[in-house]
């Protein structure tokens, strides 16, 4: 396990200033409804404006429209977008994991087909991993792809797919063969969500949204050209993919704006010493977690795979997101109403309703602890 201290260099800080200026211009505070970190709204026009600045697909190869830029630069852009509450929903998954996966294991044809569109902020992706009977135990997925002329025929059901009702493609984990052990024989397939046989059913959630979906595949044809990476190597691929997504600022910024906005709307809190203590403790924690996250980005740029480090950070970060919310609620005078005229209240209400998912989505803290413990004992 290695976390090494790092700071942003002048070039990276200049990038940070640029992003801040861009957001101040294009999305000034008060001109839009901010989201909670990575749960930001889907806004293709904004994604495209970001892409025009070269800030979507930053880590993707320049040959395919990307920036070939280091993970740290992507970190710098990502944290500014998330803490601002910018509407990143359209490109987030594509940029964070699907694009990099294609860049790493995709065929030249796949890269040519998808990466430029991702980098322009045009194409959106969602992830198809969980199934009704396969949550934490992803190797047990039963969605199956059977060999057919020129490709595969897929049958099965994916569940909890965020945004499947409004995204273009799904990166789906399916079983294509049976290996000696159940981790062999899984593959990742690109599924066009508008293909015949794909049925998307929104699942209404307790926060009032229906962004999570059940996606049923009934004899969906996926051509050979849409298999990502070697057949049967899906398990190893998703291991890498998940490592990327676990250590980043999206894991500790979900409730940041709640604190900032509360401070903005209630300056009288400044005279309450217990609020001052909470604020100070929270700021120190953000500062500390950021350091760990930034260190992971640097490690990725060195060519390493900090999977254990990322799991360690996500476990701690998501618990912090929840604890911060509970602490902030202690200073709120009335039950936050979703339709309130106060932005702080609206953000709080959304946070209250969605907070329990922080420690579940993308790997429960129970699973993460298992991963870290194994890594510590290795």
């Amino acid at each position: 396990m290695r976390f090494e201290f790092t700071v942003l260099d002048d070039h990276e800080r200049a990038l940070q200033a640029e992003v801040r200026a861009f957001l101040g211009d294009v999305l000034p505070r008060g001109s839009f409804e901010p989201g909670l970190g990575m749960a930001g709204r889907k806004d293709p026009a904004f994604s495209q404006a970001l892409a025009a600045r070269g800030w979507v697909g930053m880590s993707l190869p320049r040959d395919y429209g990307g920036g070939d830029r280091p993970a740290v630069e992507r970190f710098v852009v990502a944290e500014e977008l998330l803490r601002w509450g910018a509407p990143v929903g359209h490109h987030w998954i594509a940029d964070r994991q699907s694009g990099p996966l294609l860049a790493k294991v995709g065929t030249p044809e796949q890269k040519a087909r998808f990466l430029p569109a991702i980098c322009r902020g045009e194409l959106s992706f969602c992830i198809g991993m969980s199934e009704p009977d396969s949550g934490s135990d992803l190797a047990s997925v039963v969605t199956r792809a059977v060999r057919a002329e020129g490709g595969w025929v897929v049958n099965g059901t994916k569940v909890w797919t965020t945004g499947a009702h409004e995204h273009d493609w799904m990166m789906a984990l399916v079983r294509t063969s049976d290996g000696r052990d159940r981790h062999e024989g899984l593959s990742q397939l690109l599924v066009d969500l508008r293909a015949p046989g794909v049925e998307v059913r929104p699942i209404p959630f307790l926060d009032g949204t229906s962004d999570f979906n059940e996606v049923v595949f009934q004899d969906v044809f996926v051509p050979d050209a849409d298999v990502v990476g070697p057949e049967g190597q899906g398990w190893r691929q998703i291991g890498q993919e998940l490592a990327f997504e676990r250590g980043g600022p999206d894991r500790w910024l979900s409730t940041y704006l709640v604190l900032e906005q509360l401070l903005r709307e209630q300056p009288a809190l400044a005279t309450d010493p217990t609020f001052g203590e909470l604020l100070g403790a929270a700021v120190a924690q953000f500062w500390g977690l950021r350091q760990l996250s930034l260190s992971i980005a640097r490690t990725i740029d060195r060519g390493e795979q900090p999977a254990v480090e990322a799991a360690l950070v996500k476990e701690m970060a998501t618990r912090f997101e929840q604890d911060l919310l509970e602490a902030v609620l202690g200073f709120v005078q009335s039950e936050p109403a979703p339709g309130s005229g106060s932005l702080a209240e609206r953000l709080l209400a959304t946070a209250v309703l969605t907070a329990p998912s922080f420690t579940i989505r993308g790997g429960t803290i129970e699973i993460l602890r298992t991963i870290v413990a194994k890594g510590l004992r290795a």
Partner: protein, 320 residues
């Protein structure tokens, strides 16, 4: 007020079974069902048996209804129907009194359970109570996170000349009695959540075994159970000890158990716990809203702390 006759165990079971039978019917009119089983008489005869039973079931089945009013009026020792008054009780939001006196006026701001249009409202003021004509106050249905409770916010300023005083009532007994009832309701919800999560942990298999086999899951459920039992113990004590302190503590502990149950049960259920198609979310909402009636957990703790500091001592269990 409690009568000398206590209802025996068999009668209690019978009562509970009839009650559940009536209340688990779809679209049931809770108040009518309660009237049918003679709930008010039961409450008057043996509140120690009646309140835990009814409110436990209410929490478990997520019922609406106006039983909380009955508890309040019983504690108040006031029967508005005897004076031909059709009144609904105005309960406090959080720890703020439902009514504040300023010279010759009364400022009212509280919650009424069960959407209805009574002719008047009964409001506790200090150690007494007043009856306010409904036309004097504004009502607005609360569009919060648990609409099934049918809460209505009642607000307005009335002149004392326009209200009538209820004589010979025990206003101070209302908050403790209502806190106690709400605590039982919270624990009923906790029991339902725990049952759901436990059943899920046994049925849901991952990695070739029920997820309940994993220590992490076991411990979450155990923690909820421990919190529930702690609240339950203080609740039981609240019938025998100094009621003001013990009911503050009991509702605070019950609210804590409710929050813990929501958190842990959601974590154990994973994503399905968030889907509307699964019943868990309704309990999650219910415990949040119940936390707001008669004081949130944090407010109750502060109030309890103040009370203990003022008295300079901690009441001993079993002492009046």
């Amino acid at each position: 007020m409690a009568d000398a006759t206590a209802v025996d165990r068999n009668a209690l079971d019978l009562f509970e079974r009839s009650l559940r039978g009536l209340l688990t019917t779809d679209g049931v009119d809770v108040d009518a069902a309660l009237a049918e089983v003679g709930w008010r008489d039961f409450l008057a005869a043996d509140p120690v048996a009646a309140v835990p039973l009814l409110f436990g079931v209410q929490g478990e089945l997520l019922l609406g209804g106006t039983a909380l009013d009955d508890v309040a009026l019983d504690a108040l020792d006031f029967d508005p129907s005897r004076l031909e008054i059709d009144g609904a009780l105005v309960h406090p939001r959080r720890c703020v009194d439902a009514a504040m006196r300023h010279d010759r006026t009364l400022v009212v701001d509280g919650l009424v359970v069960g959407e209805r249009t009574p002719a008047s409202f009964v409001v506790v003021v200090g150690s007494g109570a007043v009856i306010v004509p409904a036309t004097a106050l504004d009502c607005a249905v609360v569009q919060g996170i648990d609409p099934s409770l049918e809460l209505v916010r009642v607000r307005g300023t009335v002149s004392l000349a326009d209200v009538s005083m209820a004589d010979d009532v025990d206003g101070a007994a209302v908050a403790p009695a209502c806190r106690r009832a709400l605590a039982y309701e919270l624990l009923g919800a906790v029991d339902a959540m725990l049952a759901t999560a436990t059943e899920y942990a046994q049925a849901r298999h991952q990695f070739g075994q029920p997820i309940g086999a994993f220590q992490a899951v076991k411990h979450r459920l155990a923690d909820v159970y421990v919190a529930r039992q702690a609240a339950s113990a203080v609740l039981a004590e609240s019938w025998h000890s100094e009621p003001e302190c013990t009911t503050l503590a009991a509702k605070a502990l019950a609210a804590r158990a409710g929050a813990l149950a929501a958190e842990h049960c959601l974590q154990v259920l994973g994503a399905i716990g968030f889907a509307l198609e699964h019943p868990l979310h309704r309990f999650v909402r219910r415990v949040r809203v119940l936390d707001h009636l008669y004081g949130t957990e944090a407010e109750l703790r502060t109030q309890l702390g103040r009370l203990l500091l003022a008295r300079g001592r901690v009441p001993r269990p079993g002492s009046a």
